[in-house]
Amino acid sequence: MMAPLRFRGGGFTIQPKRHTGWIAGLAVIAIWQGASSAGWVSPIFLPSPAGIAQALADMALSGQLWRHLAASLKRIVAGFVLGGSAGLAIGLALGLLSHVRAAGLPIISALFPIPKIALLPLFILWFGIGEPSKVATIALGVFFPMAIATYSGVDQVPRTLIRMAQSFDVPALAIVGKVILPGALPGILAGVRISASIGLVLVVAAEMIGAEFGVGAYILTAGNLMRTEDLLAGVCLLSVLGITVGFAVSAAERRLLGWRQ
């Protein structure tokens, strides 16, 4: 009574589908364009992809695109450098020093959940209406996730590596530089990824108050003028900006964290 074996495995694995992604993306755009062209959706409520592309092209040709992008990028970079380096330093201190951790963590935990845009009016009072208040908002928004990511990155350095270094009489400062910092790098880069997206949100929010140029200001103006094409063109710009930053962080991870696994 010989019987073949019944197969009961399979499924529950994700098969990569090479082209589906592009096809789906194009299909969405095609249907949207079709509906717009057929007049089923009013262009005020939802402009057509072609309209948005046109708005983007106009913006690019008139040079406005670079002007807005440059203004936003300058703010993000400045805020990121300021807030990021402060976050890194404080995060390291939180990760390494018991007293700093005990004193600092409750304060940071209390301040972290405050949406930074709520503080914008205060920042305007402190730093004026110009660039400093915008940069400060972004810097503050970046500071907290960077500090938290850095200290938990330090926590995630395997203790056995530190013990190993101590067992070879490696001086404490060299342990920080050669073991803890590289070991915390995965955490730090994860923090960079989060901070970058927070920076993007905050630049939009900050530019909504009193900025002439910048993608956020452009979107706000477009919204005020009910120019939905321009509004969505600005939103596309933000999306591209976000994706680019994401790719950059991934590339950095590939380069710097190739040793993982």
Partner: protein
Amino acid sequence: EKTSLSVLKLASSGPVFLAQDLGHFAAEGLEVEFKFFAAAQPVAVAVVSGDAEFGVTGLTAGFYNLAGKGALKIIAGQSREQPGYKLSAYMVSNQAFAAGVRSPADFGGRSFAMTQVGSTFHYMIGLLAEKKGFDLSKNRLLALQSIPNMVSALQGGQADTAILPSTVAVPMMDRGDAKIVGWAGDETPWQLGALFTSPKMIDTKKATVERFVRAYKKGVAAYDLAFQKKGDQAATDKALDILARYTEQQKGAIAAGLPYIEPEARFSARDIAKQVAYWQAQGQADKSIEAKDIVVTTFVSSID
């Protein structure tokens, strides 16, 4: 000497534009840098935060809160709501108009769009409520942050009523998007705007303040001559050119909505005290504010 002024791109700022382009500031040895903002609030904040040494704009509850903490002093007058001057329009959405809101007296109990809590629009609806005797707390006050937001709310019928500047209100009416049912100047005249600076300026650079106010008064006089006395058509045209350039608006629109400005740049200290009292009663201004501490009458005297 270099100085700076925070200002809105509106016709009500006409005197400073004229003073600049007609060389009155230069004549006083001042090189004035204009800092433009989109709303009244930042204009005042800019003076507090040190972004600008002088400011000229409308008076809001926020202004009084800053001034009440000793950060700002009013040194001269600017625009006023005055009968016959079509500066701010009472507006009604088409839907509400159809439902019977036909005059400012009908604004009671209706939703009202404004930019911000404590804004000049907020004060004007308060004055109207006082005059017409309706209870403002029964109105839904929608703070929409910007004039374009107010326009679309009114257009879409999401707000029943609003007060809007004539430059915005008249084109809306013309397009049939909403109805103008009256003018604030006719119903409730008041001291709308002022020139101000920080107390530190008065203490440390009094001479500069004096020179600035002198030039400003010349600007006011030029404005008065061009638009209120209307003696000299050439001067009127020239002034209109200057305003059109600074405000980036059509000359016709500007001419239709010019505010009244007291010819000697005086202001009403009594009206300012009334405003402070109103905001205090509404709970929008700190109780500790004393109106007399806010105004300085050494440069320009009060009307009353």
